[in-house]
C-alpha cells in the first residue's frame, strides 16, 4: 500500500530527508493538499530540536516538481482568491527561508514554476548534471506571473538581467547554465545527489559552509547592483516586451511591474505587488486562453488519433525504426532532420546525387545548429548524421517501416513514386504523402495497399514548426493512423488527425484569409498596412509576409486547387496572380512583396510591386521613386475582412468532419500558422466574441461583397440556438 501523502520525512543523524512523491501521479505538482502537508511538516521539523537541517528530494525517477496543478488553479473564480493563493504561497516560502533549520533542495529532473520558487527560498540548491534537469518559471507562457516570491527572490539571487530573461520568457534553463548564472550552487552526478545533499546539510548546519554569491563582473555591478543601472535594464526590457507582444500579452508587463516594485518600494511592497498582479493576471482572458491551449496540447499528447468503438482493443502501434524519404528537397531534408534526431534510421532518395547531397547539407544545417548552441555534443552530432543514408535508387527501402514522399507537387509524379516504392516495400510498410494540396484519396488511387496510405502534412521549416496534420482517407487503416500519430508525437510534433479534402484543414482556413488580404491590396490597401493590422491582431507575421515566405507559386497553386473545389468564395485575388506572373515568387527568389538582401533577409516593402497590382488600386503616385500613396483602410476593417472568412471556413471544416473537434481546430490554427494563442484559436475566439456576432458581421460583409462571406450553416444554427463550441472555461 502506498502512502496517501506526498511528503515523507526520514531523520538521519539530525538531517531530515524529505521525499516528495505524489501518490498515483507521474510527476510531482503543487496543489492545496501538498501545500498543507508542507506547512505541517515544516512546522513539525522546526519544533524538533534534534533536526539540524533538511533536504528536499523527489521520489519520482526523472522529475523534481513540475509546478502548480493547473486544473486546480482553474477552479479559482476571482482575482481576490488568486491573490490570496499567491499570498499564502509567499508566506509558506517566507517561513521556510526564515526557519531555524537550513533547507537544501536536491534537484533532478524538471523544476518548474512554484518548485523553482521554493528552491529560491531554500538555503542551498544542488542540481544534477543531467539533460533531464531543467529549471524554469514558465508562468508567463500561460498568461500568469510567478506568484510565490519568484519575481522578488530571483533578481536578488542572479541579478536583474538574468532574472528577467527567465521570468519574461519562461524558457527552460539547463543544469550547466543554471550553475553558470548562479541559479544553483552545485552540480553533481545523479547517483550522488542524495549523498552530497546530506553532506551539504550537515555543513550548513555546522556553519562550515557558506554560500558563495554569484558576481556578475563589471557589467553586473553597473546594471544589476545599482538603482540607475536597474532602471535602464527595466526600461529596455519593457520596450522590448512591448515590441514583441504589441501589448497583446499583459503577463510579461505585469511581471516587470512586480520586479520593479521590489526595487522601488522595498521587499514587502514587492511581495504585495506580486500577489496583487498575480491575482489580476489569473482572471485575464489571455491567461484562460493560453491555459486552454496548454490543456488541449496535453490532451492531444494522449490522444491516439483514432476513434474506436467501446470495448475495442487499442490500436496496434508499429515501431518506426527506419524511415524512407522520397525527395531530398527542403521539406524532405527537414523531415529527415527531425527523424534522425529521434534516432530513426533514415534512407533519403532523390533523382540524382546532387540533390541528395543538397539534402544532406540541409540536414546538417539543422543538426549543426544544435551543436553550435551546445544542445548536443560532437559525438551526438556525428551519431545523428551517421543515421542518414542517401541513394538514387530504392536500395535499402526493403525494411523501411514508413515512407514519406516529399516530391514535386504533381499528381502524376506522386503516382509514379508511389508505384515504384510500393514494389520495394515490405507489406506492412506505410506510405505517407507530405503534400499540402493534393487530396490523399487521389494519390492512393494507384496504391496496391490503399489502407496503408495517408498524409503527413509537416509545416516549414519542419524542425521549428510544431504542428503535424495527419490526413486519413476513407480507406486508411486505424492501426496505420495510430502508428503515424504516435510517430509524429515522437518527432516532437503536436498532431491533429484530419479528414482528406482539398487543403485539409490548415491550408483550407488559411486560404480565404490570404485571399482576402490580397483583395485588400487590389482595393488599394498598402502592403504594410495589411501586415501591420494582423500583427496587431496577434499573428507572428502578416499575411503578405507569410505568402512571401511560403512562396507565391506554391500559394497560388494551392489556392487554385481550392478554388476549383469550393468555388467562388475561394476566388483568388488578381493581385497575387499579377505578382506571380511577374516572376516574384517570394523570399526563395529574393523577390516578392518585400525586398530581400542576398542572404534572404527581409527588408521593407518593395514599392515597385504596387505597379503590378490591379489598376483600380493605384492611387496617383507622388514624385517618382517615392512610395505611392495608397488607400487608407482602417486596421479594424482589415482584420474583419481577413479573420472572419477564416473563422467561417473553420466552422465549415468542423461541420464537414474535416476536423474532429473544435479543440483540434484551435490547435491546428495556433500551431499551424500562429493564430494568436492568447485568443485561444478560431473556435475559442468565436466563443469569446459570440457566434451570433460572428454571423452578424459575416452577413454585413456579405452584403458589401456578395458571395464570399456567406455564413456557414453551422454558425447560423448555433447563433440561433445560442450555442458554444467549447464548454466555458
Amino acid at each position: 500500500m502506498s502512502s496517501p501523502y506526498a511528503l515523507s520525512a526520514e531523520i538521519v543523524s539530525g538531517i531530515a530527508i524529505i521525499t516528495i512523491d505524489l501518490p498515483g501521479e507521474p510527476v510531482n505538482k503543487f496543489n492545496r493538499a501538498v501545500k498543507d502537508e508542507f506547512i505541517a511538516l515544516f512546522d513539525r521539523l522546526e519544533r524538533d530540536l534534534n533536526v539540524r537541517a533538511a533536504v528536499l528530494i523527489s521520489g519520482k525517477s526523472d522529475s523534481f516538481i513540475a509546478g502548480a496543478d493547473i486544473e486546480e488553479f482553474l477552479e479559482i473564480k476571482t482575482s481576490e482568491e488568486a491573490q490570496r493563493l499567491s499570498h499564502e504561497g509567499q508566506l509558506l516560502l517566507d517561513s521556510i527561508q526564515e526557519q531555524r533549520t537550513p533547507l537544501i533542495v536536491a534537484i533532478h529532473g524538471a523544476c518548474m514554476g512554484g518548485a523553482l520558487e521554493l528552491a529560491l527560498a531554500a538555503h542551498y540548491r544542488i542540481a544534477t548534471d543531467h539533460p533531464k534537469t531543467v529549471l524554469a518559471l514558465p508562468e508567463v507562457q500561460i498568461g500568469l506571473i510567478p506568484g510565490a516570491g519568484g519575481t522578488q527572490r530571483l533578481p536578488r539571487l542572479i541579478g536583474i538581467r538574468a532574472a528577467l530573461d527567465i521570468i519574461l520568457t519562461g524558457k527552460n534553463i539547463r543544469a550547466k547554465k543554471a550553475l553558470q548564472i548562479g541559479l544553483v550552487d552545485e552540480l553533481v552526478h545523479p547517483s550522488i545527489l542524495r549523498k552530497i545533499a546530506i553532506q551539504r546539510a550537515n555543513e550548513l548546519a555546522e556553519g562550515t559552509r557558506k554560500r558563495e554569491r554569484h558576481k556578475g563582473g563589471v557589467t553586473g555591478f553597473l546594471l544589476d547592483e545599482n538603482p540607475a543601472g536597474r532602471r535602464v535594464v527595466l526600461k529596455k526590457a519593457r520596450e522590448e516586451t512591448m515590441k514583441k507582444t504589441r501589448g497583446n500579452y499583459p503577463a510579461p508587463l505585469a511581471a516587470l511591474d512586480a520586479v520593479a516594485a521590489g526595487y522601488s518600494g522595498g521587499p514587502s511592497h514587492g511581495y504585495r505587488e506580486e500577489s496583487r498582479l498575480f491575482g489580476e493576471m489569473a482572471m485575464t482572458r489571455e491567461s484562460r486562453h493560453l491555459i486552454s491551449i496548454f490543456f488541449a496540447t496535453t490532451a492531444l499528447k494522449k490522444d491516439p488519433g483514432v476513434e474506436l468503438p467501446e470495448g475495442a482493443p487499442p490500436p496496434e502501434i508499429m515501431p518506426v525504426e527506419k524511415l524512407g524519404i522520397l525527395g531530398a528537397g527542403f521539406m524532405g531534408a527537414g523531415i529527415a532532420s527531425v527523424a534522425l534526431q529521434q534516432g530513426t534510421l533514415v534512407r533519403m532518395k532523390d533523382a540524382d546525387h546532387g540533390r541528395v547531397a543538397k539534402g544532406f547539407a540541409a540536414v546538417r544545417d539543422v543538426v549543426r545548429e544544435r551543436l553550435t548552441r551546445r544542445q548536443i555534443t560532437k559525438v551526438q552530432y556525428s551519431d545523428t548524421m551517421a543515421l542518414l543514408g542517401g541513394t538514387i535508387d530504392y536500395s535499402g527501402f526493403g525494411n523501411v517501416d514508413l515512407v514519406i514522399e516529399a516530391v514535386f507537387e504533381d499528381l502524376n509524379v506522386k503516382h509514379e513514386v508511389l508505384r515504384e516504392v510500393e514494389a520495394e516495400l515490405k507489406p506492412s510498410a506505410i506510405f505517407a504523402s507530405n503534400t499540402s494540396t493534393i487530396p490523399i484519396t487521389r494519390i492512393a488511387e494507384v496504391s496496391e495497399r490503399p489502407d496503408r496510405v495517408l498524409g503527413m502534412h509537416f509545416f516549414s521549416p519542419v524542425h521549428k514548426m510544431p504542428l503535424l496534420e495527419v490526413i486519413t482517407t476513407e480507406q486508411t487503416d486505424t492501426d496505420v493512423t495510430a502508428t503515424v500519430v504516435a510517430y509524429g508525437k515522437k518527432l516532437g510534433k503536436t498532431v491533429i488527425v484530419v479528414k482528406d479534402g482539398p487543403g485539409f484543414y490548415v491550408n483550407r482556413i488559411l486560404t480565404p484569409y490570404i485571399n482576402e488580404a490580397g483583395r485588400l491590396l487590389d482595393q488599394g490597401a498598402s502592403i504594410d498596412a495589411v501586415d501591420n493590422a494582423l500583427l496587431e491582431f496577434g499573428f507572428p507575421v502578416g499575411p503578405i509576409t507569410l505568402i512571401d515566405e511560403v512562396g507565391l507559386d506554391v500559394g497560388s497553386k494551392a489556392g487554385k486547387i481550392m478554388y476549383e473545389a469550393f468555388g467562388e468564395r475561394f476566388a483568388p485575388p488578381s493581385s497575387m496572380q499579377a505578382v506571380v506572373a511577374a516572376g516574384r515568387l517570394g523570399r526563395k527568389a529574393k523577390k516578392g512583396f518585400y525586398l530581400y538582401d542576398d542572404e534572404g533577409k527581409k527588408g521593407d516593402v518593395d514599392q515597385s510591386v504596387y505597379s503590378l497590382l490591379a489598376p483600380a488600386a493605384r492611387v496617383t503616385s507622388t514624385t517618382s521613386g517615392q512610395s505611392q500613396s495608397r488607400a487608407q483602410i482602417p486596421a479594424a476593417e482589415i482584420q474583419r475582412r481577413t479573420i472572419l472568412p477564416m473563422l467561417n471556413e473553420a466552422a465549415r471544416c468542423l461541420d464537414e468532419g474535416v476536423i474532429r473537434s473544435p479543440r483540434d481546430g484551435d490547435i491546428g490554427a495556433v500551431f499551424g500558422f500562429g493564430f494568436p494563442p492568447f485568443r485561444g484559436g478560431p473556435f475559442r475566439y468565436m466563443d469569446e466574441i459570440g457566434v451570433a456576432d460572428v454571423v452578424k458581421q459575416l452577413e454585413e460583409l456579405n452584403d458589401r461583397f456578395p458571395g464570399r462571406f456567406e455564413p456557414a450553416e453551422l454558425l447560423v444554427t448555433m447563433a440561433r440556438r445560442g450555442d458554444w463550441f467549447h464548454p466555458k472555461l
Binding site: E321, G343, L345, R347, H353, G354, V356, A357, K358, F360, A361, R364, S382, D383, M385, A386, L387, G389, G390, T391, I392, S395, G396, F397, G398, N399
Partner: protein, 432 residues
C-alpha cells in the same frame, strides 16, 4: 561439401566500399574511422539489415589512430547497432581486412556468433606525424614536473634536431627496406622487365576504366556525400586513368633505384583513402533472414617468409595451401583476384605460382600453375583502383564475388601480399 575446416559454412552476404580516392584529394578531411563508419552504415542500410542482428564487428587498419586505436569499436558505437556488439581491430598490413574477415568468419564457423561485419579502412591523407624521441622525452618530463622551473628545465633539453617530426615511412622495421625497394629487388630477382611492368599497369587501368564505365566495378561502390559540408559527392574511384598509355607510363622515372630500377609511380599502387566492408553470416542465418548471399568462404590460408628475402612473395606460399584446403586446383577457378601492390610483385607472384621451387617450399610437389590472363584481375586492381591498406582485402573479396556472380562462375581465388613477408589466399564459392 563442408569445406571450411570442420565448422559451419560462412556466407558473404554482401559488401560495399567507399570510392577509393588518392590521398590528399576528395576524402582528405575524412578520418579512417569515419571512412569505416560511412561504409558500415551504408552496408547496414542497403542490405535492409536490422542492426540488432549484428554480433561482432572486426576491422583492419594499418596506420592506427593514436587517440582511438580500436577503430572497430569506434565504428560499432554508431547508433545503427547495439552497444553490446563485440568489436576489435586487427593488423596484418595490407591483408588486414582479410584478417578481419577470416577472424569474424572463424567465430561464425565455430558457432559462437551468426552475424558479423568485417572490413577495413585507411586514410593515408591523415597519417600521424610523430615527435622525435628527444622531443617526446622532454614533453613527458615537463608534464611530470611539478614546478615552473622544473618544467622549463625539462623543456630546455630540446635540441634543434629534436624539432624535426617523424613521418611513418612504408618501410620494414627489421630490414629498413622500403616497400618500393623490395619491389625493385623482386623485379631484379625474378627478371621482370620494365616493359612488362608498364604493360601490366596499363592493363590494370584499362580494365578498371572499362569496369567503371559499364558499372561492373562501381556496383560495389557507395556514393559518398562528402562531409562535413556535403558540397560534393564522390561515386567512383579517382585514381583510374582511362586515358593513360604505354608511352606515358614508360616515360616515368624509376623512383627507388634511379639508375638500374624499373619501379615507377605508374606501375605501383598509389597512396589511397577508403573504407570497405562485408556482411558475414552463417549459411543458416542468411537463409532464415531471406538473403541470397554473394557467396561463401570455401577455404583460406596465411603464409609468411623472411622479409629480407622477397618481401611480397608469400602469396605464392599461401595459395597452394588454400587450394588444397578447398580440395580444388587452379583449373577450377573461374576468376583470380590478386592484390596489385606493384606490377613487379604481381608478375613475381605469377612466376612463383608456376615454379616448382616455390611449390616445394610450400610443401607441394606440383606448382599451382599458370594463371589464365583472361581470368586475372578482370576489372583491374590496386594499381589503378587504389590501395587503402586496411581496406583492400575487403574490396578484393567483393570485387571477386560480384564478378563471379555476373559470370555465373563457381569458384574464385584471391591472394594478397603484405608487409612483413606475409601472404594470404582465399577460395570463395557460389552455389550453382
Amino acid at each position: 561439401m563442408p569445406t571450411f575446416g570442420n565448422g559451419r559454412r560462412v556466407a558473404i552476404v554482401d559488401g560495399v566500399r567507399t570510392p577509393f580516392t588518392r590521398a590528399g584529394t576528395a576524402f582528405r578531411s575524412i578520418s579512417a574511422i569515419d571512412l569505416g563508419k560511412l561504409c558500415v552504415a551504408e552496408l547496414i542500410q542497403r542490405t535492409n539489415l536490422s542492426g540488432g542482428e549484428i554480433e561482432a564487428l572486426v576491422f583492419g587498419t594499418v596506420i592506427p589512430n593514436v587517440i582511438a586505436p580500436n577503430i572497430a569499436r569506434e565504428i560499432s558505437l554508431m547508433p545503427l547497432m547495439p552497444k553490446g556488439v563485440q568489436a576489435f581491430t586487427v593488423s596484418r598490413a595490407c591483408a588486414s581486412a582479410n584478417q578481419a574477415i577470416t577472424d569474424a568468419a572463424d567465430q561464425i564457423a565455430l558457432g559462437h556468433i551468426d552475424v558479423a561485419i568485417a572490413g577495413g579502412a585507411e586514410s593515408l591523407s591523415n597519417v600521424p606525424i610523430l615527435h622525435s624521441r628527444g622531443m617526446s622525452e622532454a614533453l613527458v618530463l615537463a608534464s611530470k614536473a611539478k614546478t615552473l622551473p622544473g618544467r622549463v628545465k625539462a623543456l630546455s633539453r630540446i635540441r634543434p634536431k629534436d624539432l624535426v617530426p617523424i613521418t611513418p615511412a612504408i618501410a620494414e622495421p627489421t630490414t629498413g627496406e622500403t616497400m618500393g625497394q623490395s619491389a625493385e629487388k623482386m623485379a631484379k630477382l625474378n627478371d621482370i622487365s620494365r616493359e612488362d611492368q608498364d604493360q601490366f599497369a596499363l592493363r590494370s587501368h584499362r580494365l578498371a576504366a572499362a569496369g567503371t564505365a559499364d558499372g561492373r566495378l562501381t556496383s560495389e561502390i557507395m556514393p559518398v556525400y562528402v562531409p562535413p559540408k556535403f558540397e560534393s559527392v564522390v561515386t567512383t574511384d579517382n585514381g583510374i586513368r582511362s586515358d593513360t598509355s604505354y608511352e606515358q607510363l614508360s616515360a616515368l622515372k624509376p623512383v627507388f633505384d634511379r639508375r638500374y630500377g624499373s619501379v615507377t609511380a605508374g606501375n605501383a599502387s598509389p597512396l589511397t583513402d577508403g573504407g570497405a566492408c562485408v556482411l558475414l553470416m552463417s549459411e543458416e542465418k542468411a537463409k532464415s533472414l531471406g538473403y541470397e548471399p554473394l557467396g561463401y568462404i570455401r577455404s583460406y590460408a596465411y603464409a609468411a617468409l623472411d622479409p629480407g628475402e622477397q618481401l611480397l612473395q608469400a602469396p605464392v606460399l599461401a595459395a597452394p595451401v588454400a587450394l588444397a584446403r578447398a580440395g580444388l586446383g587452379l583449373r577450377d577457378m573461374d576468376l583470380v583476384e590478386m592484390h596489385e601492390a606493384f606490377a613487379a610483385q604481381v608478375l613475381s607472384n605469377l612466376k612463383g605460382l608456376e615454379s616448382r621451387t616455390w611449390a616445394e617450399r610450400a610443401g607441394f610437389s606440383e606448382p599451382v600453375g599458370e594463371v589464365d590472363q583472361s581470368r586475372l584481375n578482370v576489372m583491374g586492381g590496386s594499381i589503378s583502383i587504389g590501395h587503402p591498406f586496411g581496406a583492400t582485402g575487403s574490396r578484393i573479396t567483393v570485387t571477386l564475388l560480384n564478378e563471379l556472380r555476373r559470370r555465373g562462375g563457381q569458384f574464385g581465388l584471391m591472394t594478397v601480399c603484405a608487409a612483413g613477408g606475409l601472404g594470404f589466399s582465399m577460395v570463395v564459392e557460389r552455389d550453382r
